[in-house]
């Protein structure tokens, strides 16, 4: 397995894991208060919708010339990855609150307890829509990463498998723990994913624009090292600055 293939698999797995932890918190918050049938149908519907997007867009993108695809995917990954990296640095340096799954779980549970009960199509509509939207919105980021990683490297199946493995793992963990996965180091994982997205964005973006990397695929490790070191320095510098801490949602 080549370096970029391993990193692709790792990126899809980690991105999926961290987003699924957040989706799990939303579903649990609704399910424990309003029962499991409607939220689980919401989860299943959203999962089918996400799989349909991957199945439709993935093969369609193989028709685009690889240089064009890498340029577009590189640009999108850079814009998207830099958002993740920027937020992770702001959180690590204390300028933005860390995401707190226990607090999010309590908030979702309180909202579910006070929301009005409305039956539609035999479902508790509130529970269904909250679970559906939660999984769909968190999952869209994963779908974006799977499609961009997979199509630019011609390994869509592998990227999808990495993401699916994380879904299975997080679901199992959620069933075993029967609560939000507070101990998952979300910021660290988001840091790693942001670093991978930005590095792949640099690599493919430059290739798509016509540049050739010295050492070819191995230079990807150099880009990761360079951006990792830069991020570490930026966290250290920002930690020394006085900050009024923003709540997690303000910059997240």
């Amino acid at each position: 397995m080549s370096t970029s293939t391993v990193l692709l698999l790792l990126g899809a797995f980690l991105a999926s894991a961290v987003e699924m932890v957040e989706a799990l918190t939303i579903v649990l918050g609704v399910g424990v208060v309003r029962g499991w049938r409607s939220p689980l149908i919401g989860v299943a519907t959203a999962t089918v919708a996400l799989a349909a997007i991957v199945a439709a867009l993935g093969p369609a993108l193989t028709l685009v010339p690889i240089e064009t695809l890498r340029l577009v995917v590189g640009a999108l990954l850079l814009a998207f990855g830099l958002q993740w990296l920027r937020k992770a640095i702001l959180r690590s340096s204390g300028h933005v609150d860390l995401h707190d799954e226990a607090e999010a779980f309590s908030r979702h549970r309180a909202q579910a307890a006070t929301a009005a009960s409305e039956q539609r199509a035999g479902l508790d509509w509130y529970a269904f829509t909250v679970a559906f939207k939660g999984v769909l919105l968190e999952g869209l980021e994963v779908v974006f990463i799977v499609i961009s990683f997979g199509s630019a490297q011609g390994r869509l199946g592998l990227a999808a498998a990495g993401a699916a493995a994380a879904v299975v793992l997080i679901t199992l963990a959620g069933v075993l723990v029967r609560g939000p996965l507070e101990r998952v180091p979300e910021n660290t994982i988001k840091f790693a994913v942001g670093l991978l997205l930005t590095s792949f964005g640099c690599f493919w973006g430059a290739e798509g624009a016509g540049a050739r990397w010295p050492g070819d695929e191995l230079s990807l490790l150099g880009v990761i090292g360079f951006l990792g070191l830069l991020s570490f320095v930026l966290v250290r510098v920002l930690r020394r600055q006085p900050s009024g801490v923003l709540p997690s949602g303000a910059e997240a």
């Binding site: 958002q83 974006f144 624009a209 540049a211 230079s219 951006l227 830069l230």
Partner: protein, 66 residues
Amino acid sequence: MRYLVRFARFWWDFVVGDDWTVAAGVAVSLGLTAALAHNDVNAWWLLPLAVAFLLAFSLWRATRRV
């Protein structure tokens, strides 16, 4: 119309996010890399340097606002 605006805003937030200067800087850097490649200059080094600058600049803007 309202749905179209919401749809556009969703994708804007999704891809561009909190700081539009990062996305704009990425587009300019890719354009420069392509222009240099077109003139036989292998500018593989440009994007990592541009990313370093854009990230530092965006963080400086964010922490200045706080």
